[in-house]
């Protein structure tokens, strides 16, 4: 008698979430849940994100369809809510900009064309929260991400082939270790990139506002932050990851035209 258990909400920073494009299903059964495996091996059928809502627009035509953008210290991720998520859509519609929000939702993968997969979050719930909750989420997510990085130990000790030669997989690894192996094989995970991501996120908590005012430049010099350089010019409306620029705003077949009204 199978008991229905709710899927755990993954904790990943937006930078890592946007780098993700590996999905797995445990078995062939059409009812088996779909998981996103992130570069550090987080297994997400659901995610929990707390960050700053920086933008929101109603991009629906016949019915309301809200798109928001949630920023954390490592980047941002698009969040959608339509007529099937009425509470989340209403929360997006009514939210102040900027404000801290907590989002529970399902990662959603969109392939605008062969070979390009874009991650968005389909919100189940959007709630206004305070700065203390956002800080707590950064600590929570940093801790979970570090735990996942530790699962890569075999590949650090024995080289990147530790997983791929099947040695680790032979002695029935835990689900966490085997997800790390899947991530390693698929992404060839650059562990330093995600270690730096965690450091960047934690540094945002160490900074007091007055420090920033003293040396405003520091913010963009944060290690791991790619900053906003000339190469990004003309990309203000788009994303920041290589070939995915601009495309992300085309999610779900919609077209964005900036028009003077």
């Amino acid at each position: 008698m199978g008991e229905f258990t709710r899927e755990v909400a993954g904790r990943t920073f937006s930078q890592e979430l946007r780098d993700s494009d590996l999905t797995i299903r445990e078995h062939e059964d059409q009812y088996a849940p779909l998981y996103l495996i992130t570069p550090t091996g987080a297994r997400c059928n659901r995610v929990f994100v707390v960050g700053t809502l920086t933008e929101r627009d109603n991009v629906g035509a016949e019915t309301d369809y809200w798109r928001g953008r949630i920023a954390d210290p490592t980047g941002s991720i698009p969040v959608y809510a339509g007529q099937y998520q009425p509470d989340a859509a209403q929360a997006l519609a009514e939210a102040e900009l900027p404000s801290f929000v907590a989002v529970v939702g399902k990662p959603s993968i969109y392939e605008p064309e062969e070979g390009t997969r874009l991650i968005t979050i389909r919100a189940e719930s959007v709630q206004k929260v305070d700065a203390a909750t956002r800080d707590r989420w950064i600590v929570d997510t940093a801790r979970r991400t570090l735990e996942r990085l530790k699962n890569f130990e075999p590949s650090i000790k024995e080289g990147p082939d530790a997983f791929s030669d099947g040695k680790q997989l032979m002695d029935e690894p835990s689900e966490e270790i085997s997800d790390a192996a899947k991530a390693q094989l698929h992404y060839d995970t650059d562990l330093e990139r995600y270690r730096q991501m965690v450091v960047t996120a934690l540094q945002s908590l160490e900074k007091r506002p007055e420090d920033v005012i003293e040396g405003g430049e520091e913010v963009s010099d944060t290690p791991g932050d790619e900053g906003y350089g000339p190469e990004d010019e003309g990309d203000v409306f788009g994303g920041r990851f290589g070939g995915k620029k601009m495309d992300e705003d085309l999610d779900f077949g919609e077209e964005i035209n900036y028009k003077k009204t």
Binding site: M1, F4, R6, E7, V8, A9, G10, Q30, Y31, P33, L34, F48, T54, E55, G60, A61, R69, A71, G75, D87, P98, F100, V101, V104, K106, S108, R122, E124, S125, Q127, V129, T133, R136, W137, V139, A142, R144, L146, K150, E192, V198, V199, L202, E206, V219, S220, T222, D225, G227, Y228, V236, F237, R240, G253, E255, I256, N257, Y258, K260, T261
Partner: protein
């Protein structure tokens, strides 16, 4: 910062928008400093903000591209798809919002569909094949369905779509009760009627338990099925009945396409009230309903019986946990005393809303023990974010007889009753590694929310809506971090204390930073 400001200024100028540098700077600082948004994200946001201020808005053409798929391809919710299917079955809609519902199928499988009343679409006929255009997929408890809404189209097909499996082709398979493991299977069953219960609903003609030599199962016979009445202790062959599941318990439904024929043979019924000697168990080992067991336990608490049929009820415990018990009046058993330990012989397990209990009935025995059983309350604690407030939270009504929460004014056991108000929260907590359900009772809810039951009633009365209390709870709790403690009973913590997690300390951050340095 200066560089970003000039970039923003230039970008705005391109669109013919002039904004003072100070204005740009203050917006940018708000995002970067107060809200910790990365510089490049903040830049983007500031540009969009001022463009919008000046009437340049991201207009959009929202075209939903749907893709033709087969039933088996449906593996995610919220996808727009086209489907060529035949209507296999139409069911009675359970809500006015639904105009039609049932099963459709193609060569690869069958799937539930829901056609909303608002969709204003033509009626579907059983056995007819259609092309569904732009229908949206949905998921509930890992099962998929398709929803037909206003943007969907239905086109009748000349061709006849072949449907695999269920209800069409596939003859119902004869099964034993213990083999029933999934809902919506059409099966044949040879079983004896063990018990008949009073139907709780006008749509039901008979309900109760049937059993064979592998177990017992609940059955429901619909009025509409027009099937003959079943008699207790008679054995039958039930042909073409459909399995169902509710709260992890399976049942079989007898409907219009089902057949019932009386059997001459007498089917042996295992378990319940018959054979199988009861096994001695610890409370924590109780994991399924309708098992006959022996239990050594101490009476921890006696509660006021909520029904005339109950002589005593409360909690009994052993060193592995506590469990609710119910002693029926009909059982004619001796009175239990709080604090006394007993051997309970041949009691039967039950489950309701994922919580187990034991029932003491006529075949049970109670033997007083000299020894004092030690009771472990299994206090648990959990810290994490509240990610969901479940239905049935907030201002609810309970059955005055059995205290069960009413669904739309109806008690599962006692039918339509005048309920009494209560306040409670069923929260789902999540720490990123595991999920924990937490039940918060009225007293704790009142403390946590700073609102009394009376105030909640007042609010609901003014808003003419009970849901307003649930909305308030969601607004306050979802997305926040809490620590709860209380006894763990099955998948729930019965919350005794609930506190927000304290603000992040510098030490916590420093420790994680050290971890981050050494991690790889």
């Amino acid at each position: 910062m200066k560089e970003s400001i000039s970039q923003i200024e230039a970008r705005l100028r391109e669109q013919g928008v002039e904004v003072a540098q100070e204005e740009i700077e203050s917006r940018l600082r708000l995002l970067v400093e107060t809200f910790a948004v990365p510089q490049n994200e903040a830049t983007r946001s500031v540009v969009n903000y001022f463009l919008k201020e000046h009437g340049i808005t991201p207009g959009s053409v929202f075209s939903k591209k749907s893709e033709e798929v087969e039933v088996k391809d449906i593996s995610a919710s919220n996808c727009w798809v086209d489907l060529k299917v035949k209507v296999v079955q139409l069911w009675d809609p359970t809500s006015d919002a639904i105009s039609q519902t049932g099963l459709v199928g193609d060569g690869t499988g069958v799937i539930k569909f829901v056609k909303w009343t608002k969709a204003d679409l033509p009626d579907l006929a059983e056995g007819q094949s259609y092309l569904f255009k732009s229908v949206v997929t949905d998921e509930f408890q890992n099962r998929f369905s398709v929803k037909l809404n206003r943007t969907s189209k239905i086109i009748e097909l000349e061709e006849d779509i072949e449907v695999s499996d269920i209800a069409s082709a596939a003859p119902a398979e004869e099964m034993k009760i213990s083999e029933i493991a999934e809902p919506q299977r059409w099966i044949d069953l040879k079983a004896k009627v063990v018990q008949l219960w009073d139907p709780t609903n006008d749509a039901i003609s008979q309900t109760g338990l049937v059993g064979d030599d592998t177990g017992v199962i609940k059955f429901v016979k619909w009025i509409k099925s027009d099937l003959p009445d079943l008699v207790e202790d008679q054995s039958y062959l039930f042909k073409n009945v459909v399995t169902d599941v509710f709260q992890d318990k399976f049942s079989v439904k007898l409907n219009r396409t089902s057949e019932i024929s009386e059997l001459d043979e007498d089917i042996e019924v295992s378990d319940i009230a018959s054979a199988a000697p009861a096994e001695e168990m610890k409370i924590s080992e109780i994991a399924e309903p309708q098992r006959w067991i022996d239990l050594k336990a101490k009476v921890v608490q006696l509660w006021d019986p909520t029904s005339d049929a109950i002589s005593q009820t409360g909690l009994v415990g052993d060193d592995t946990g506590v469990i609710k018990f119910v002693k029926w009046v009909k059982s004619d058993l001796p009175e239990l005393t709080e604090g006394q330990s007993y051997l309970f012989k041949n009691v039967v397990t039950d489950v309701f809303q994922d919580r187990f209990s034991v029932k003491l009935n006529r075949t049970s025995e109670i033997i007083e023990l000299e020894e004092d059983i030690e009771v472990s309350p299994q206090i648990a604690q959990f810290s994490g974010a509240i990610v969901n407030i479940q239905k049935g939270s907030g201002l609810i009504k309970r059955c005055p007889v059995c205290r069960r929460a009413l669904a739309k004014g109806v008690c599962g056991e006692h039918g339509r009753v005048e309920g009494t108000y209560d306040l409670r929260i069923k929260a789902v907590m999540d720490d990123g590694n595991q999920v924990q359900e937490a039940l918060i009772n009225r007293e704790t809810t009142e403390r946590l929310m700073g609102i009394t039951l009376d105030e909640a009633k007042q609010m609901a009365m003014e808003a003419l809506d009970h849901e307003i209390v649930m909305g308030l709870i969601e607004e306050r709790l979802v997305g926040r971090y809490y620590k709860v403690t209380g006894p763990q009973i099955e998948r729930y913590i019965l919350v005794e204390t609930v506190d927000p997690l304290p603000p992040v300390t510098d030490d916590e951050v420093a420790e994680l930073m050290r971890d981050a340095e050494g991690v790889i």
